[in-house]
Assembly symmetry: D2
Homo-oligomer: 284 residues x 4
Amino acid sequence: MKKLIFLVLFVTAYVVSFAQFPPQGKVEYKTMPSKILNEDREYSIYLPKSYATNTDKTYPVLYLLHGGGGSHKDWPGRGHVGDVANQLMDSNEACEMIIVCPEAGKTFMNYFNHPEWRFQDYFFEEMIPFIESNYRVIGDKKHRAIAGLSMGGGGTVVYATSHPELFCAAYEMSGYLYRQDLPFLDKNDPVQERLQTLVEEHNCVKIIQNADAQTVEALKTVNWFIDCGDDDFTFDPNMEFIAALRAKQIPYQLRVRDGGHTWEYWHSALYIALPFVSNCFRGI
Amino acid sequence: MKKLIFLVLFVTAYVVSFAQFPPQGKVEYKTMPSKILNEDREYSIYLPKSYATNTDKTYPVLYLLHGGGGSHKDWPGRGHVGDVANQLMDSNEACEMIIVCPEAGKTFMNYFNHPEWRFQDYFFEEMIPFIESNYRVIGDKKHRAIAGLSMGGGGTVVYATSHPELFCAAYEMSGYLYRQDLPFLDKNDPVQERLQTLVEEHNCVKIIQNADAQTVEALKTVNWFIDCGDDDFTFDPNMEFIAALRAKQIPYQLRVRDGGHTWEYWHSALYIALPFVSNCFRGI
Amino acid sequence: MKKLIFLVLFVTAYVVSFAQFPPQGKVEYKTMPSKILNEDREYSIYLPKSYATNTDKTYPVLYLLHGGGGSHKDWPGRGHVGDVANQLMDSNEACEMIIVCPEAGKTFMNYFNHPEWRFQDYFFEEMIPFIESNYRVIGDKKHRAIAGLSMGGGGTVVYATSHPELFCAAYEMSGYLYRQDLPFLDKNDPVQERLQTLVEEHNCVKIIQNADAQTVEALKTVNWFIDCGDDDFTFDPNMEFIAALRAKQIPYQLRVRDGGHTWEYWHSALYIALPFVSNCFRGI
Amino acid sequence: MKKLIFLVLFVTAYVVSFAQFPPQGKVEYKTMPSKILNEDREYSIYLPKSYATNTDKTYPVLYLLHGGGGSHKDWPGRGHVGDVANQLMDSNEACEMIIVCPEAGKTFMNYFNHPEWRFQDYFFEEMIPFIESNYRVIGDKKHRAIAGLSMGGGGTVVYATSHPELFCAAYEMSGYLYRQDLPFLDKNDPVQERLQTLVEEHNCVKIIQNADAQTVEALKTVNWFIDCGDDDFTFDPNMEFIAALRAKQIPYQLRVRDGGHTWEYWHSALYIALPFVSNCFRGI
């Protein structure tokens, strides 16, 4: 028994010590009030290593969107965004930044406005202002980026195209860009249908195809990155999105790596996404 | 309320469908009896995609060891070994193999023999035979490999050097190769001290340095791979291990990548380790 | 002056020694007779390290095609295929293989049959038999692969689809897959026009689209890999080729990496291509 | 014959067009006068894409040193530094910078001062001022970096340690850091011996070991990166260099990748080195 107690102490000491040595950036789970959604909304936030001690410093910010049926805990929990950020910032491959994961999933699972769920309004009118007044965020286009996976990849495109004046970079992974009638979806389910309708109303390919000359110029001020696996069921829509960008001569980066609609893909995407947005945040 | 029920169904359907499409290899958590340790021992096992359906096929096997204070759940849970294996096997970067994670951690946290805890004997006399009689394992040196992290990296070296006739490949990550008096360890803790003593009795650098000519020839039949981060506290011992191998002209691969003693490091190591052991398993 | 002579000797010794230490695979430049083309044809050939000493060993073979306007010297000279092969074989990421680069470029610049230039016939009826009778090649489908860049990417597809029974793997890079009226081409140039016509007669997308059920089954026995940069002017045709493969449910690997129609792209592609074909050559 | 002429024109047009489309950074080969060395010295210089058109812009600068027995043509010719820079700058993985390759090789092959060959004085007193007055270089520590391979890796360390106030980053590859009596060197050759003596007088490991507290603080203002292959004959000295840095608590990045003392290694190192120095040049 004594042995066991010693052991538990040892393991605890071991794990605690590792976590503390050296000091690292941390993920926190929080809530914020929303009048628009008429409820408190959860979010997670990564604060880099220097945040607690270097109290005069302000930081760029990345909004990182989860996928359909997910939550603000996905990127830290399965995407290990805190661990990836710590490693990339230690080696200066990414600059220090704040990373915010909203929670869009519990009721309508969606980033778009619906009469009963104006999430897009919440994001722009409440969340961004809340983050920028409660954390030391630089708060200009040059230091604000957005990224997301699947449904959150669609959200990334919709948000960055509706407010190109707010984001220097948009990195979408495996974006669910318009309604796809996938074999595992059920057309007889009214909740699914409402969601699908909402997604199709924000068809990302059409948004680009229908952009007028002035909008296209605005979209060129965003650095676009598309990252989609060769086995992903969103591959075709993403290639159509690319074709639409090219038709409008909007520059982009594209990577098709090995994989499907999986967390292994999105986790590894962070090793590209964080340096990419860092390079947009950085001076030259 | 109805809305919520629909939603939960949708999310469940969504997640379930993704998991099932396409069929993938799976990790199972099991126990096996041990006379040597006088108790049932847990282990986890990854069975590749074809295992359930291709019932005549036999497979190579990789034994994958966890670190100090860990368990057989670490590699599947935080190392995501099942997800990595599925991806690499889908693209043929790794061949189909069975991956077995023993559980060495609950009492003495150690892979080595101690009068009260003969884990090494258990591994060679009970676990390997158990796996090879209960699963469709090819079961020769050419198709058996070992790998592990930290304390399990030390285990990898000790097991492969004590039985080079059993393994074609040994891949050690961030190996804890001999007693290191690290700042977070407590010399006044008798359990820690016993463990440290046991580790030092299996000093991996000395094992190589003291190997006689015949042993050296046997060690050359194992394909060695050392993988250690540039910020890892085990870096120096690993470089001494390399120097010992080179002094004996035992070939090896070495990678020093960015990172410390972290799961980001070990998770990414799997993308190198599984192809490496596959290339040893494969014919030419 | 004496100083200078010493110096030259030193540099020479230095370079020579490096080249010799350790023994490495080598590229040789050769010619072979062709009745079909009514002239001697040049080729280059990489022979792996063990070829000269292990005189009983037979090897898999990769045919590696140059681009339009190029020659058999491109892959060794600018693609550094010998250096890449040596490195990958040393670490066992690729298996030992023979790599053959034909010369298709001096008159019609083309891999396809034309009444005055039956290069495809030369390749299948003369070159493959010549290589297999003059070098220690294993000489079955399982150990024969084909790869190429640009016009040679088109050649790769055309050759592997016309003889799927001969190749286990086909890796096309930046494939020029059908006639593209690119801004730097001149429609008034009859030589260019003849070439373009010939290319269009071997439209790779249509080859897949028009394949009957039996052919599709045969094409599934080839491991396909498409690799094309996100800035490449062949991007769209390559995506159409992918879509055609998918429509016929022919499995493939796809990578879109950073870059254009450049040697940096093709050189780095070798680090993927040689392991890929090795995994096809290898036993399991 | 006419056919052939058309063809040559076609190939020429083809190659020329590719080279011009889109506009790219270029390498130029130049000479500059040296009073210290009493002769004109050659150098090569990479000017990024915007240099010719954006005539108000100033740029960071990287000095990139060749190896023993080499010349200023090595990095552009075999290292393909222009092609790598163009690709990385197009995707913003590297920022636009000027890259200068001095020529240290024709007589004494050395970066160090010798009574008859004061190359180090030339570099600091003539070359840097010449570059900064003849090209639009920013010209402060924050925007000046140094890198090099083998003998030039030693040069990198010696230059950055002797003038840490001038460089924000030092990236050494496969550094020849002190006299090594390698099997292919000849102790009876007085030229070689003089060179070896000179190298040993600039023993990089001892430079760090002997640094006093004030120097150590200065060395911490340089971002150090060591990159050395696992098969390189300079591996041991590089690990001793790392140990010396760590003993003085000077931070560094280290990578040990697959390979030896080869151009494949150094070429691929550019894909790490250019982003690394860019991140040092960039604002945050």
